[in-house]
């Protein structure tokens, strides 16, 4: 038996997209409408963020952060918690480049409009630059290394308030400093009467109807129990806003049988495939303390890659370094002397790379590394090696070199040592956290899933408000653009709602 519930707007997912829509539509509650957010993950209390890899990752991430692509050659990281991936993101806040949005060619979507909306969220999220004294050696060395290698590093604006530099952003800030939707938009929406139901997975959507399963809190697990009793619910809503993220929304719509009318559903998946590079310095550096991500080098337009500073935790680092045994252990032993750079390739949508669902409705992500991506990763590694040595490192661990260790004596031979042919899918550790596409925007159902306002072609009761809307990679960190697009979706919902009456229940 399932329980019946009625609301006006049902939002699936509480991440960058869903949280934004919830806050933007919250004033409707004052007008007597019911707005409900369904989030499959739990809501954590502040004191439950303990910064442990083993204690936090399984609670905050889908598959504990180890969601594998279909052929097992890449892991995808995405959040599954009240606040979605904004709980685990690093909070770097960049506005979509004009050239990228122009290149998307989405009718009715202007970069200037996204920039204006992004500015609003930058203000809400307290986006600013860190002062020089808040920047640790790992980041400072990147800027110095860029300078020495003839590049210009740019500083990331970040969205923190009262950051004490725990460096634990990707395990959920233990000090509530990071201004994700769980700190800003969702609490604001709830104050105005929006209901957020956690541990509530939306199993399928039908015309103006959702099937929701609320789960019990597992014994001893972190997080609050759901406010709804465990069980299945049939929720009727005038409009449904899918904001489950690129993978979550695509999978939900696919298992709801919508591919029949939307042939591009699940297609156009991109993710900025990434790996980490580490280099060893002769002396200890501050790397485990301070905000982990202060600088980046944008070579997207010229060479198809972006380099970012980063610092990961021991297990994540060990997993993401390619190789094993003595050489791997020696790098790990040098942890307090390690400088780290994250290499991201700007991939493009190709037919093979798409989201599907298996027979049980679980997402399956097919991803193949195109030659262009592999070339970009190798070029990025060469640039990063120059930066590391420019910063004074004594040796560099390069996944696209064989052997992986590059010493200063190799600096003249980097082009020979680091090449695309050493990239071995399944052995070279690759992961991605910028998941995009699956419900791309465009002009018609033949070429896309949604229009520029997140309206699903030919399905007036269904909207999309998340990273699945991206028709191509953004080539920079995406969360602010997700929020800007979600803001547009919310605006269209407000505009269209008077015409969206509930059809009689069938």
């Amino acid at each position: 038996m399932s329980e019946a519930v009625t609301c006006d707007v049902a939002i699936v997912g509480s991440g960058a997209g869903g949280g934004t829509v919830a806050a933007a539509l919250a004033p409707l509650v004052g007008d007597g409408l019911r707005v409900v957010v369904f989030e499959q993950g739990p809501r954590l209390r502040d004191d439950e963020f303990d910064g442990g890899e083993l204690t936090m990752a399984p609670v905050l991430y889908e598959d504990g952060g180890g969601f594998l692509t279909a052929d097992g050659t890449m892991t995808l990281a995405f959040g599954r918690v009240y606040g979605g991936s904004t709980v685990v993101y690093t909070g770097t806040s960049l506005v979509a480049p004009e050239r990228v949005i122009r290149g998307w060619r989405v009718p009715g979507l202007l970069a200037s409009d996204l920039a204006e909306r992004s500015a609003k969220y930058m203000q809400q999220n307290n986006v600013h630059l860190l002062s020089p004294e808040e920047i640790n050696d790992n980041n400072r060395l990147f800027a110095e290394g860029c300078h020495a290698a003839g590049f210009t590093a740019e500083q990331f604006p970040i969205n923190v308030r009262g950051c004490v530099g725990s460096s634990l952003c990707n395990l959920g800030c233990p000090n509530a400093a990071k201004q994700g939707t769980h700190r800003v938009q969702l609490p604001a929406a709830e104050t105005q009467g929006v209901e957020v139901v956690t541990r509530a997975e939306v199993l399928r959507v039908d015309p103006q109807k959702l099937r929701v399963r609320v789960s019990e809190k597992p014994p001893g697990g972190k997080g609050e129990p759901s406010t709804w009793a465990p069980g299945e619910y049939d929720v009727r809503a005038r409009v449904i806003v899918a904001a489950g993220g690129s993978v979550g929304t695509s999978a939900l719509l696919l298992r709801s049988g919508l591919r029949a009318r939307l042939p591009r559903l699940g297609h156009g998946f991109t993710c900025h495939p990434a790996f980490i590079l580490v280099a060893e310095h002769a002396q200890p550096i501050t790397n485990w303390v301070g905000h982990p991500k202060s600088f980046f080098l944008d070579r997207a337009e010229e060479e198809g890659f972006v380099l970012e500073t980063c610092m990961y935790f021991p297990f994540t680092t060990a997993k993401n370094l390619t190789g094993l045994g003595t050489e791997h252990a020696a790098m790990m032993q040098a942890f307090e002397r390690l400088q780290m750079i994250l290499v991201l390739a700007c991939d493009r949508p190709v037919e093979e790379n798409r989201i599907e669902v298996d027979r049980s409705g679980r997402p399956v992500v097919h991803y193949t590394f195109t030659p262009a991506v592999v070339e970009s990763l190798a070029a990025a590694t060469r640039a990063a090696a120059r930066i590391f040595f420019g910063a004074g490192a004594v040796r560099v661990h390069a996944p696209t070199a064989d052997p992986h260790i590059i010493t200063r004596e190799d600096t003249e031979r980097l082009d020979e040592r680091i090449t695309a042919e050493h990239f071995v899918p399944g052995t070279t550790s690759v992961s991605a956290a910028h998941l995009m596409g699956g419900c791309g925007m465009g002009g018609s159902a033949a070429s896309s899933v949604c229009d520029a306002w997140g309206r699903v072609h030919g399905v007036p009761w269904l909207r999309v408000a998340d990273s699945s809307l991206f028709p191509d990679a953004l080539q920079i960190n995406p969360y602010l653009t997700v929020m800007a697009l979600a803001d547009r979706t919310a605006e269209a919902v407000r505009r269209d709602l008077p015409e969206l009456s509930m059809v009689a229940a069938t």
Partner: protein
């Protein structure tokens, strides 16, 4: 029964090859590593659980032709070389097998505060204050 039980000997032999520091683990050290790995496996789909046990079985007999001994009976350095060879195997399933196994070993070891501290990792929710005190 524990998921690793049918292949525990091969698991430990592989763990030592992947992570030389594992050779210094005593029985309670191994128990801690294996508990973490078990818990992680228990949360994975059944198919993934079966694959890892199957991979361990294949790994154990893989060197027999060339080295005339099972993987778990080889010296540590040779085991490391065998795994390096498998990382370059033509078949992606073998490469993935090594990748999955090393991920589990690293998880079992480096997520333990005692081991992460031993490599100089000192992150604390107190951030800069922890550095200065």
């Amino acid at each position: 029964m524990s998921l690793l039980a049918p292949a525990r000997r091969t698991f430990r032999a592989a763990a030592e090859a992947i992570l030389p520091a594992a050779t210094t683990l005593d029985e309670s050290g191994w128990a801690s590593v294996e508990r973490i790995v078990q818990d992680a496996l228990a949360q994975r789909p059944r198919k993934a659980q079966r694959q890892i046990v199957m991979f361990l079985r294949v790994l154990n007999v893989y060197p027999v032709l060339r080295h005339r001994r099972r993987f778990s009976e080889l010296p540590r350095e040779t085991r490391e070389r065998v795994l390096h060879d498998l990382e370059r195997a033509r078949h992606v399933l073998l490469r993935r097998g090594v990748w999955g196994l090393r991920t589990l070993v690293f998880m079992g070891y480096y997520t333990q505060p005692v081991h992460s501290a031993s490599i100089g990792y000192r992150a604390s929710p107190r951030g800069w204050k922890a550095l200065r005190t």
